[in-house]
C-alpha cells in the first residue's frame, strides 16, 4: 500500500481527476451506454494515441520546450509499418512495434540534435520537422493506402484485445508507460533535472546540470513514443493513408496543458497529462451524446484550453498571495 501512496497525485491532479469523474458521470446521465464496459472501452481506445503522445511530450514541455513533429511522426510510422507488413506477410505485431519505434527514434534524434546540440528554439525546429516528416509521408506513400487485409492479423487481434471487459490493450500500455514515467520523473536524477532545466534554464547551466544530454534524450523519448503511437493508430483504425493523424499535434499539446503541465516549464506531471487527454475525449463524447454537431469539436477544444489556462492563472495568483502572507507572518 505504501507503493500506492507514493503514486498519489498532487492536488492539481486530484482536482483534475474529480473534474474527469464529473464529466464522465454527466455524460453517463445523458447517454447511459457511456458508463457501461463498452462505453469505457470506446473512450479508452479512442484516447490511447493522444494519451501516449501526451506522456511523450510532457517531459519536453516540463523542460520549457515543445515538440510539434509528433503528429507527422505518427503518420510516418503508421504508414511505414503498414507498408512493411504489406510487403512481408510473415511479420507479426512484434516487427510492427520494432519498426515503429525505430522510425520514431530517428525523428527524435534529429530533433534532439538540433534543439539540444545546436541550441535552436524547439518551436521552430519541430515546426520544421513537422513539415519535413509529413512531406516524407506524401513522397514515399505515393498515394498508396493500406487496409485491414494488408496488416498482420496478430496486430489487429491485439488491437481488439480487452481486459476485464473494459480495458483495451493499448490503454493498458498507456497506464504502464504513465506509471513508469511518473516514477522516473519524481524519483530519478534525470527526472528532477528536467524540472530544474524548465524552471530556470540559465541556472541549470550554472549548477552544472547535463542540459544537453537531458534535452536530447527527452526528444528521443518523445520520438519513440510517437513511433509507437503510430502503431496504436493502425491497431485502432486498421487503415492508413498519407494524411493519417494530420494536424493533431496541437490537440496533444492542448491535452498536456489542460492536464496542468505549465507551458512555461518547471511544473506538471505525466499523470496530469494523461488525465488531460481523457478529459478532452470525455467532453467530446459528452457533446456528441448531447447531439452537439461534430463541427463544434475544434471550437469546444479551444474553449476548454482557455478555461484550463485561466484556472491555472487563478490558482497561481492565489498561491502567490498565500506565499506573501506566509512570508509576512514568518517575519513576525
Amino acid at each position: 500500500m505504501n507503493f500506492l501512496k507514493k503514486l498519489r497525485p498532487s492536488s492539481r491532479e486530484s482536482s483534475l481527476f474529480i473534474i474527469l469523474i464529473v464529466a464522465v458521470g454527466g455524460t453517463g446521465l445523458i447517454n447511459p451506454r457511456f458508463l457501461t464496459g463498452d462505453g469505457t472501452r470506446d473512450l479508452l481506445t479512442s484516447t490511447s494515441v493522444v494519451a501516449l503522445l501526451a506522456i511523450g511530450i510532457a517531459p519536453i514541455v516540463v523542460m520549457r520546450h515543445i515538440d510539434l513533429s509528433i503528429a507527422s511522426t505518427v503518420g510516418l510510422s503508421a504508414w511505414a509499418v503498414a507498408d512493411f507488413c504489406a510487403k512481408n506477410p510473415s511479420f507479426t505485431w512484434v516487427q510492427c512495434f520494432v519498426i515503429g519505434s525505430i522510425i520514431g527514434l530517428v525523428v527524435g534524434i534529429v530533433n534532439g540534435l538540433l534543439v539540444a546540440g545546436l541550441r535552436l528554439p524547439s518551436l521552430v525546429v519541430t515546426l520544421g520537422t513537422l513539415y519535413i516528416v509529413r512531406g516524407l509521408v506524401y513522397v514515399v506513400s505515393n498515394s498508396v493506402d493500406y487496409n485491414a487485409q494488408e496488416m498482420p492479423e496478430s496486430l489487429l487481434a491485439l488491437g481488439q484485445k480487452v481486459y476485464f471487459g473494459l480495458l483495451p490493450f493499448t490503454f493498458l500500455m498507456v497506464i504502464i508507460a504513465m506509471i513508469l514515467m511518473a516514477l522516473f520523473m519524481k524519483y530519478t536524477k534525470s527526472g528532477r533535472d528536467a524540472y530544474a532545466i524548465g524552471s530556470n534554464p540559465p541556472a541549470a547551466d550554472l549548477v552544472g546540470l547535463k542540459v544537453f544530454r537531458r534535452t536530447f534524450l527527452a526528444f528521443v523519448f518523445s520520438g519513440v513514443m510517437s513511433g509507437i503511437a503510430g502503431v496504436f493508430y493502425l491497431m485502432r483504425f486498421a487503415q492508413v493513408d498519407s494524411t493519417a493523424f494530420y494536424g493533431q499535434e496541437l490537440a496533444v499539446v492542448a491535452a498536456v496543458v489542460i492536464g496542468g503541465v505549465t507551458i512555461m516549464g518547471g511544473s506538471g506531471t505525466v499523470v496530469g497529462a494523461v488525465i488531460g487527454a481523457l478529459l478532452v475525449q470525455t467532453i467530446q463524447g459528452g457533446l456528441a451524446a448531447l447531439g452537439v454537431d461534430a463541427f463544434w469539436k475544434a471550437a469546444i477544444n479551444g474553449l476548454l484550453l482557455i478555461i484550463a489556462i485561466y484556472a491555472d492563472r487563478v490558482l497561481a495568483v492565489r498561491n502567490e498571495k498565500q506565499l506573501l502572507t506566509q512570508r509576512i507572518r514568518e517575519r513576525i
Binding site: K189, R192, A196, V207, N319, R327, R331
Partner: protein, 501 residues
C-alpha cells in the same frame, strides 16, 4: 580541514581579455581560511570577471591560480564546485518550481540505488538551515521566498557541497538592514568553521563592519591588499576612485514650498494600511523600512500601477484618479523603479530611444518622430548627467549599471516632472556614480521638484532626506525630521515599530 590562516587560494598576475577589451590586467588575490575578505572596486574594475573565473564561467588568459599547492582548474562550473569553490550570485539562481531541499541538492541528489532519497535530502537540508540559524521548511517551494532567504538556500547549497571558499557577489544589495545583519551572522559562522568568504559590496559601512581583509581593484588590477586594521574608509575610497571623493551626499538646503503630493489613508490590505504623508516642493522625503514593508507598493499605488482600496492621492491640490499611470504621467509624476533592468529600461533598445521614450510628444512633428530632436535631447541629458556611451544607438544593456541608472533618470527628468519618485536609486552602483546620482536627485529638488525616495541604505536616507517616514509591515510607524533622525532610530522603528529615545 583547513586551519585558520592557511592560504587556500592565490591568484597572481591574472589576466583576461574579451576581444579587444582588457578586463583584467594582472590581478592578485590571496584568500585565507577563516577569513572574511572584501573585494572592492568601482563598476568595471574587474571584480565580476574575477568571480567568474573562479566560478568556472570564464578562463583566464594569463597569470596563475593556485589552490593550496595545486593548480586551480577553470573552465566549467562543475570543476569549480568539485574543487570546493561555490559562488552565490547577486540574483540567486534558484529553481523556483522546486522545493528547498531539491534546490540544496540539485545535481547531487542523495540516492538509494536508482532512486532519490527524499527523506535524507529533507533532513539534511533542515540541518543546514538550522546551522545557518534560519529555519526554513525544506519541503516548501522556492517560489515566494525573499531574496534574503533565497541566499540562505544558496549558502546551504554551498555548505552541502563542502565548499571551502564561498564567493558572494553583492549579497547585501537587495537586503534590508535586519536581513543584512542576519547575513552577517551567517558569514561569521562560516568564518568560525574556517571557511573563506569572499564578498563584493558597494556598501562600505558593511565592509568595514565585517571583513578581516580588503582587496581593492581599479581598472582590472589590484591596487591594495590590506588587513582591516591597516586601512580606513577614506583610504579605500581614494584607492577605488583614484582620487579624493569630496562628498558622498552633496546635500543642499533648498527652499521648501507648497505641498505637491498629499497621500491620505492610502490602504491596500495586502500590502499597506492607512498611509498618510505629504511631499512639498523642493523637499526630499524618504520612505525607509525593511524590504517588503510595503514601501515600493505605496509608490506603485501613487503612480497608478497598482490599485488601492481606500484613501486618496492629491497632486498639486487636485485629486489623482487611482489606477492610471497614463494619468499620473500627464499630471507630471515620474517613477524610477527599483528594478531598472526589468521595469525601467528597454534593454535592447538604444540609449537615445530609452531617454526619449516618455518625451515623444515633444519630439513629434505631425505624428512622426523628428530624429534630430531626439538626438539633441539625448545629447542634452548625456551632458547634464554625464552618461557615458560610445554611440547614441548603443543598446543600454551594454552600459554599466551606473550609466543604466542615469539613463532611467534622464528619461524621467526629460519629462520635467513635478513629483519624482525614486525607488532604490543607487542599488548596485559604485561609490563615485552613487555620489553623482545623489547630486542629480538633489539638483532635481533644488529646481523645485518634490522628491519621494525609497531606500534601504540608511546612510543614503540620512544623508539625503529632509524628512523620513518609516514603514513596518505595511504601516507607517514613524516620521522623523532630518535633525532628529539617526540610524538607530530608523532601525528601531523599522524592526519593532516603536520609536526609541
Amino acid at each position: 580541514m583547513a586551519t585558520k590562516g592557511d592560504l587556500l587560494l592565490q591568484m597572481s598576475g591574472v589576466q583576461k581579455r574579451f576581444g579587444g577589451a582588457v578586463a583584467l590586467r594582472g590581478t592578485d588575490l590571496k584568500i585565507r581560511a577563516g577569513e572574511i575578505h572584501a573585494l572592492l572596486g568601482e563598476n568595471g574594475a574587474g571584480k565580476s570577471t574575477m568571480l567568474k573565473i573562479l566560478s568556472g564561467v570564464h578562463v583566464n588568459d594569463g597569470g596563475t591560480i593556485k589552490l593550496g599547492d595545486k593548480d586551480f582548474i577553470t573552465g566549467s562550473p562543475q570543476a569549480s564546485i568539485d574543487q570546493g569553490v561555490a559562488v552565490i550570485y547577486q540574483e540567486p539562481s534558484l529553481f523556483l518550481d522546486l522545493s528547498l531541499a531539491e534546490n540544496v541538492f540539485i545535481g547531487r541528489q542523495p540516492k538509494k540505488g536508482m532512486i532519490i532519497d527524499w527523506k535524507f535530502a529533507q533532513k539534511e537540508a533542515a540541518r543546514l538551515f538550522k546551522e545557518l540559524g534560519v529555519e526554513l521548511d525544506p519541503k516548501r517551494q522556492a517560489r515566494g521566498l525573499s531574496i534574503a532567504d533565497q541566499q540562505v538556500v544558496e549558502i546551504a547549497k554551498a555548505l552541502s557541497m563542502n565548499a571551502n571558499i564561498i564567493l558572494m557577489d553583492e549579497p547585501t544589495a537587495a537586503l534590508s538592514a535586519s536581513e543584512v545583519e542576519r547575513l552577517m551572522t551567517v558569514m561569521k559562522s562560516l568564518k568560525a568553521a574556517n571557511k573563506a568568504v569572499i564578498f563584493v559590496s558597494h556598501r562600505l559601512d558593511e565592509v568595514f563592519a565585517i571583513s578581516d581583509f580588503i582587496t581593492v581593484m581599479r581598472d582590472g588590477a589590484t591596487v591594495s591588499e590590506n588587513p582591516i586594521s591597516k586601512t580606513d574608509l577614506q583610504k579605500v575610497i581614494k584607492e577605488m576612485v583614484g582620487r579624493e571623493l569630496t562628498e558622498l551626499f552633496p546635500k543642499t538646503e533648498n527652499k521648501i514650498g507648497a505641498v505637491v503630493l498629499e497621500v491620505k489613508d492610502l490602504t491596500n490590505p495586502a500590502y499597506f494600511r492607512n498611509v498618510s504623508f505629504n511631499v512639498k516642493k523642493g523637499e526630499i522625503v524618504a520612505l525607509a523600512g525593511l524590504v517588503g514593508s510595503g514601501r515600493s507598493e505605496v509608490a506603485r499605488a501613487i503612480f497608478g500601477v497598482d490599485k488601492y482600496e481606500s484613501g486618496s492621492v492629491t497632486l498639486n491640490g487636485k485629486a489623482l484618479p487611482a489606477g492610471s499611470p497614463v494619468e499620473a504621467m500627464k499630471r507630471k509624476i515620474a517613477l524610477v523603479p527599483e528594478d531598472r533592468r526589468q521595469q525601467g529600461l528597454f534593454m535592447v533598445a538604444g540609449v537615445n530611444r530609452n531617454i526619449s521614450m516618455e518625451s515623444f510628444d515633444k519630439l513629434t512633428h505631425r505624428g512622426m518622430i523628428n530624429f534630430k530632436r531626439e538626438k539633441s535631447l539625448t545629447n542634452t541629458w548625456k551632458d547634464k548627467l554625464s552618461i557615458k556611451f560610445a554611440n547614441q544607438a548603443d543598446p543600454v544593456d551594454r552600459l554599466s549599471g551606473g550609466n543604466q541608472q542615469k539613463t532611467v533618470l534622464a528619461k524621467w527628468l526629460a519629462t520635467d516632472p513635478d513629483l519624482l519618485i525614486v525607488d532604490e536609486p543607487t542599488r548596485g552602483i559604485d561609490v563615485a556614480t552613487k555620489a553623482e546620482v545623489h547630486r542629480l536627485v538633489n539638483q532635481a529638488a533644488s529646481e523645485g521638484k518634490a522628491v519621494l525616495m525609497i531606500s534601504s541604505e540608511l546612510p543614503e536616507v540620512l544623508g539625503m532626506a529632509d524628512r523620513i517616514i518609516v514603514m513596518r509591515e505595511g504601516k507607517q510607524v514613524a516620521e522623523l525630521s532630518r535633525k532628529e533622525a539617526t540610524q538607530e532610530k530608523i532601525i528601531a522603528a523599522a524592526t519593532t515599530g516603536k520609536r526609541s529615545a
